[in-house]
């Protein structure tokens, strides 16, 4: 069987570390809402969510150990999403 699934085994400990970081980031994202950040509130929330989702994609979703094609595809999809969001808001801002 040449097409076996990859047998790269991630140690339990790595997953637990990532989980701990994700929970800390969640608590931080709640904590910062008590600080008056003004215009930066939305930015901070999105930034923390982006960091968390990147951790989930790379470690939980195994992208770190996947082939290059998949890594590029996932990156491309997120760039596409970012562009669509950006262009939509550009449009709404200057209407």
């Amino acid at each position: 069987m040449s097409h076996q699934s990859d047998n790269h085994t991630v140690p339990y400990k790595s997953y637990l570390w990532i989980l701990a970081i994700l929970i800390v980031l969640t608590i931080i994202s709640v904590g910062v809402t008590y600080i008056e950040l003004g215009n930066l509130t939305v930015f901070t929330a999105i930034l923390l969510a982006s960091v968390k989702s990147t951790l989930v994609l790379i470690y939980f979703m195994h992208l770190k150990f996947d082939n290059k094609l998949l890594q590029y595809l996932v990156a491309a999809i997120f760039i596409l999403l970012g562009l669509v969001l950006f262009i939509t808001f550009l449009d709404y801002n200057y209407r």
Binding site: M1, H3, Q4, S5, D6, N7, T9, V10, P11, Y12, Y15, L16, I18, L19, L22, I23, T26, I27, S29, V30, T33, T41, V42, A45, I46, L48, A49, K52, S53, V56, L57, Y59, F60, M61, H62, D66, N67, L69, L70, L73, V74, I77, L81, V84, L85, T88, F89, Y92
Partner: protein, 202 residues
């Protein structure tokens, strides 16, 4: 035995297929996030006031529940590769339990809103105005669609657990478990963005 050995299997392709499905899901939710963003931009005051109605504590508890469940299913993919059936089942059961807890929290959260007269098309909401109707319409639709994904994930993980239990899913063919894991992480990923957008940004 010889026929079994010749069954065509391409795990790499299965995984790629799962990712393509995940891309369509991401685009679906991204569309909804854009709708949310635009309406928030057009109704800042109403969205600000409406978002304060939601309990940050409930949102945070549910976020942590989903994060832990993501870690448990990820650890199940490790356990199955270490040929530890008992531990694989334990991690899958933990994931199912956490999914149930998430839905239980969601049920009480929605029930609380309903009893306060806040549900799509309610008279109270219409009295509050256009912005609140939009906020709660999006809230119920997006968290509802997300909850639907949780239910699908629950069924999927149950199937995986049954197959692990009767030894038809082992370290030799863990691709269904891997793909269910990917799907479950997607559900987690979407919630990671739903939580700040509805609960934190007020």
């Amino acid at each position: 035995m010889t026929t079994l050995a010749h069954i065509h299997r391409d795990d790499e392709a299965s995984k790629l297929g799962m990712w393509l499905f995940i891309f369509t899901e991401l685009l679906l939710f991204a569309g909804l996030f854009i709708v949310y963003g635009v309406y928030r931009y057009l109704n800042p005051v109403a969205f600000h006031l409406a978002a304060e109605e939601l309990s940050v504590t409930v949102g945070m508890v549910n976020t942590i529940i989903l994060l832990i469940s993501s870690a448990t299913i990820a650890m199940a993919t490790t356990a199955v590769r270490k040929k530890n059936k008992q531990l694989t089942l334990l991690f899958l059961m933990a994931t199912l339990f956490l999914a149930f807890m998430f839905m239980a929290n969601k049920y009480f959260e929605w029930k609380g809103k309903f009893s306060h007269g806040i549900f799509p098309g309610s008279e109270d909401l219409q009295r509050l105005g256009h912005g609140d109707t939009l906020f709660f319409g999006l809230y119920f639709f997006m968290t509802g669609l997300h909850a639907l994904h949780i239910i699908v994930g629950f069924v999927l993980i149950t199937i995986v657990a049954v197959r692990v239990n009767n030894n038809t899913l082992t370290f030799e063919n863990p691709v269904l478990l891997d793909n269910s894991g990917l799907y479950w992480h997607l559900v987690d990923l979407i919630w990671i963005f739903l939580f700040p957008l509805f609960y934190l940004i007020t």
